[in-house]
Each structure stands twice: as C-alpha cells, then as structure tokens.
C-alpha cells in the first residue's frame, strides 16, 4: 500500500461506519483499557479508582496518547455490588471483594437498591463520564463497563456460594438476580442520561463455570431485561462481554439483545463469525496476556493481522478488540503497536490477499 495514511474520521464516525457496513478510514479499535489508564498518569489503581478526577484524567491521557476508538470507565465487575454493600480491596491491581454483602441468604431481605447518585463509587463514575464527554464527547464514545446481574450477584454472595446456590437453592438465586438487576437499572439510567454508553461484562456466567442450561435459566432472562431497558432509553444496544469459553452460549448471547458480542481470546473469532456473525457485530479478540502483556510489538502485529483476517467482513460488522481487559502491566510500545497495526492493515477496503502475504513473510 503506497503513500502516507491519514486518519480522516473521528473515533465515533469510525465505529458507526464499522457497525453499519459503511466505509471507514481504518478498522476501529476497542481496547478495554480501564485500570491500565492509572499507568498513563502514574497513580496506583486504588487512587485511580477512587477519584472522579483521576478516572477522567487517566482516560483522557490514554486516549490522547493511543487514540483508541472507545473510552472505558465504569463500575467494572464489582462496583454495583460494592454500592449495595460488599466491601472491596484495592491493591495496585484490579479491585476484588473482601467482604460480601450477604453472608447468608436471609441477608438479602435487608439490602437496599443502591442510589447511583449517592452510594459507593457510582457517583464518581458518573462525574468522570461527564468530564470526559464534555472534553471529547464530540469525537469518541464513552462506555461504562458494568457487571451483568450474575456477576453482581456473585459480588454480593461470593462466587463459590453462588455456584452452590444454583443447585441447592435455585429460588434464592432468582431472588438475588432480581435484586442485582434492580440495582443495576438506576445506574445505567443515569449513565445514559449523561450520554454515556454501557458495556455489560458478565464473566461469572462464563461457559467455563456454568452450563448452558444454567445460563438460560438464571442469567438470560435478567440480561434480556437489562438490555431492553438500555435499548429503550438510549436507542442502541449495549455490548456484551463474557470471558472464557462462550461458544456454547453464543446464540443465547445474541438472544439477550446485545448489539455487539465481545469475545475472549479463548474462542475462535472465525467460529463465532460462522455461528452468529449474521446476527450480531463482533469485537475481538487479541490475546491480552500472551500478546499484549508478554509479547513483543511484532507479536502484536501478527495477532492483529490474524484477527483482521477472521473478523473483517463479518456481516453485521467487526471491531478490532481485546479478548479481555488490557492488563495493567502491558508495555506502552505494545499498545502503540496495536494502533499502528490497525492503521497499517485495517484500512478500508480490506485486502485479504495482502493480509495473508504479510503473515507468511
């Protein structure tokens, strides 16, 4: 490909183009860059996650440096559970639950649906969203990664307890899912009032943990409900990310109403495209650990080409993305390499012959 390449679209325009089958200057890139933003402003994850100012500054700094096509903030996997009463620890790494809101099922009766304007860190995410949108909202979408109801249920009850409850006390799991869903809706409503988007992450519903039958009975109805609320309020469907092996539930994930499926690197993008590419847009699935955190810029380049070969041309659209959140120990040069490879190999229209020639070289 001769000549210099100049980007001539905003991130927003690029994403819309990729999702509507229109030409774009280069493939859009979703990086799931959340806690990693703390590294761009040299603060700990704990400091970053507890300050609306740092959340906004970290994301803006990362966006200005790398130019990815989606800005990510939000309560993540544990923020809704925290607002409802679970206690988190903030090592200089991803936050985790140290004390669940429920020690026994009966505790559910005394939990109160959290007010997104007052409880936990939810107000911080809303404030950060306002700041980022005010500064760069014309150019780029802001997505708040928010736990799906099953992941919030796990944050309230403890994952292993929840796994046992599925068998021992299914009626309680349904009540807990009701509470988790009801606790998420007010928050996403506030996000959308401010013009933010929602990206649902539901890792605890992974096919690595529970069966398809359990997903259909305990997860899908609540996901559907949440997604319907989001669609009705914002006019667009959220993305849905489920970690690990999701291949058995791809059809159910589509059934949930999600607009895009974000796929773990554990599954094959080509298989997903074959199975559900005609019904939903796909995002994925560069290897976060092997490629981004531990690989070289050359590994990144190869992984990008591999994903483009499998994903570009998927009927409902394809966005180059990571298989899971960007590890916080990812070297900067690998993030730059990802964006450089997207500019080099992800231009419209895709040229599959050229892509395969690159791989063997």
């Amino acid at each position: 490909m001769a000549g210099k390449f100049f980007e001539c679209m905003t991130a927003k325009e690029r994403v819309v183009a990729a999702l509507t089958g229109q030409p774009y200057d280069r493939i859009p890139v979703f990086m799931l860059l959340s806690d990693q933003a703390s590294r761009t402003i040299n603060v700990t994850v704990g400091e970053y996650q507890n300050s609306a100012h740092l959340l906004a500054q970290g994301q803006l700094t990362a966006w200005r440096e790398y130019g990815m096509d989606m800005i990510n903030t939000g309560p993540g996997l544990t923020g809704i559970a925290e607002a409802a009463g679970s206690r988190l620890a903030f090592p200089d790494d991803t936050a985790y639950v140290v004390e669940t809101a429920l020690t026994k099922p009966e505790d559910l009766d005394r939990l109160i649906i959290p007010d997104p304007l007052r409880q936990g860190r939810l107000p911080l995410f809303l404030e950060a969203t306002e700041t980022v949108l005010r500064e760069v909202g014309e150019q780029v979408l802001v997505s708040l990664t928010t736990a799906g109801p099953f992941t919030t249920a796990s944050g309230l009850r403890g994952t292993e307890h929840l796994m046992r409850d599925l068998r021992r006390n299914p009626e309680f799991v349904h009540r807990l899912m009701r509470f988790a869903t009801d606790s998420t809706i007010p928050f996403v409503t506030e996000v959308m009032k401010r013009g933010g988007r929602i990206g649902i992450a539901e890792p605890v519903a992974s096919g690595t943990l529970i069966s398809r039958g359990q997903f259909q009975e305990f997860v899908l109805p609540y996901l559907k409900e949440l997604i319907t609320v989001i669609k009705n309020l914002s006019g667009s469907a959220p993305s849905l990310h489920i970690c690990g092996n999701s291949s058995r539930i791809w059809h159910d994930m589509v059934e949930s109403g999600a607009g895009t499926l974000s796929l773990d690197d554990e599954v094959d993008l080509g298989d997903a495209r074959e199975a559900v590419g005609d019904r939903v847009a796909l995002v994925g699935n560069i290897r976060p650990t092997t490629t981004m955190a531990l690989g070289t810029p050359e590994d990144v380049r190869r992984n990008v080409i591999e994903c483009l070969q499998k994903g570009v041309g998927s009927p409902k659209g394809f966005i180059l993305g990571l298989g899971c959140a960007l590890p916080i120990n990812t070297p900067r040069e690998n993030i730059h390499a990802l964006m450089a490879a997207a500019r080099e190999y992800g231009r419209w229209p895709s040229d599959s012959e050229r892509l395969s020639a690159v791989v063997v070289s």
């Binding site: 090592p91 790494d93 991803t94 985790y96 994952t159 292993e160 796994m163 046992r164 599925l166 068998r167 021992r168 943990l209 529970i210 069966s211 359990q214 970690c243 690990g244 058995r248 976060p288 650990t289 092997t290 955190a293 531990l294 590890p327 916080i328 120990n329």
Partner: protein, 217 residues
C-alpha cells in the same frame, strides 16, 4: 442395604457421589461400616471412584462448577463418616502444597484442583489465596512436599510463579519438589518458560499431571 455385596455398595457410593446425593452417600457409608467393609476400600472404590467419574463428566462438559462442587460436598460427607474408621494410616500418593499466588484472590479453580487431588489420593496442604512465593517454598520444605501447585487467573501475578521456581532453586529444594501451574492466563509455553514441571488446563487433568510428576501415573 445389608444384603448388598461390597461391590454393590462401592457402586452405590460412587453413583451417589456422581448424582450429588449427600444423604445417600452418608447412608451408603454407614451401611458399608455396618457390613464390616474396610473404610479404606469404601473410600477408594466408592467415594474417590465417584469423584473421578465426576471429574471426567466435567472434562466432557457434562458437569460444570456447580455440579463438581455438589459432588465434592457429597464425597466429603462420606469421608466424615468413614475416616474415623480407617484401620491403618493410608498411604498417600504424595504431598501437594497448593495455593493462589500473591496478588490474586480468584480461588475457585484452585479449590477444584484441591478437591480432585484429595480424592485422587494426595495429601493436600491448602495455603489459600494471595500467598507469597516464599510461603510456598517454606511450607514445601517443612512438609517435605513432592509438589507445589500454583494457580492464578490474572496476568499481573504470573511472574510470582517463576519466583517460586527460582526460590526453590536457591533453597536447593528443586530436586525434590516438582512445580505445576494452572489458571486462566497460563499456558504450556509459559510453564516451560518459567521452568515449571507441569501444566494442567483443568482440575481433572491436574490429577493426571500430579500423578505423572510423582511417578505413579
């Protein structure tokens, strides 16, 4: 129950574990004792046999984490009944020190591996989650362990696994202690790179790897 042969009782125990039926496991274990069946045999040919089948069903993706947990609850309920009646100290296949590496608190995978190793005849010392590399090494030395089994789900904590291998070498223990690793971001390639002896993709496979490592597969 009293008319059942030992073989039929073992089968009943095994089935009850696979079918996640705690009550039946307890009844079956009591029946085994009443029929003067050796507790060790009831554990090995009944409970552990059932747990091994459950592990296979997990590998075949018929069972998932909730089912495997239910099976293990049933197995442990039977062990409670039978263990006090063990006539001899059972010979274990080896001692394993297990834990989630420092910086990570995801422990379902580790718990699954512990359950499968215990039912597979290993003595397991579980250090829990967020465990420093030094503690793995110290515990392995004190308990004369054969294997250290390390788990993590996070990219940022993987390096701690390499540290364990290095500390073992520095302590001159590497000859006697094998290291096996597993968890979401871990691969065979990573295991080799840090000098680990084994990698298992799931809990059922972990038992096979552990048996190979102690040389009685």
């Amino acid at each position: 129950m009293s008319v059942l042969t030992p073989e039929a009782l073992f089968e009943e125990l095994s089935n009850a574990v696979v079918e996640m039926d705690e009550e039946r496991v307890i009844t079956g274990s009591e029946a085994a004792l009443a029929a003067d069946i050796d507790a060790y045999d009831a554990i090995q040919q009944g409970l552990s046999h059932g747990m091994e089948r459950a592990g296979q069903l997990f590998e075949d993706e018929e069972y998932f984490i909730p089912e495997l947990l239910m099976c293990s609850d049933a197995m442990y309920a039977g062990l409670e009944v039978l263990k006090p009646h063990l006539k001899r100290t059972t010979e274990s296949r080896g001692t394993v020190v297990i834990g989630v590496i420092e910086g990570d608190t995801h422990d379902i995978g580790k718990n699954m591996v512990r359950i499968m190793l215990e039912s597979g005849g290993f003595k397991v010392i579980d250090l829990g989650r967020d465990v420093t590399p030094q503690r793995f090494v110290d515990t392995a030395r004190e308990s004369k362990a054969d294997i250290i089994a390390l788990s993590t789900l996070m990219t940022t904590t993987m390096d701690g696994m390499g540290t364990v291998v290095r500390l073992l070498e520095e302590a001159d223990l590497r000859g006697g202690v094998k290291v096996m690793v597993g968890g979401g971001p871990i691969s065979t390639g990573f295991a080799k790179r840090i000098g680990a002896d084994g990698y298992a993709v799931n809990a059922a496979e972990a038992v096979k790897v552990a048996r190979e490592l102690v040389g009685n597969a």
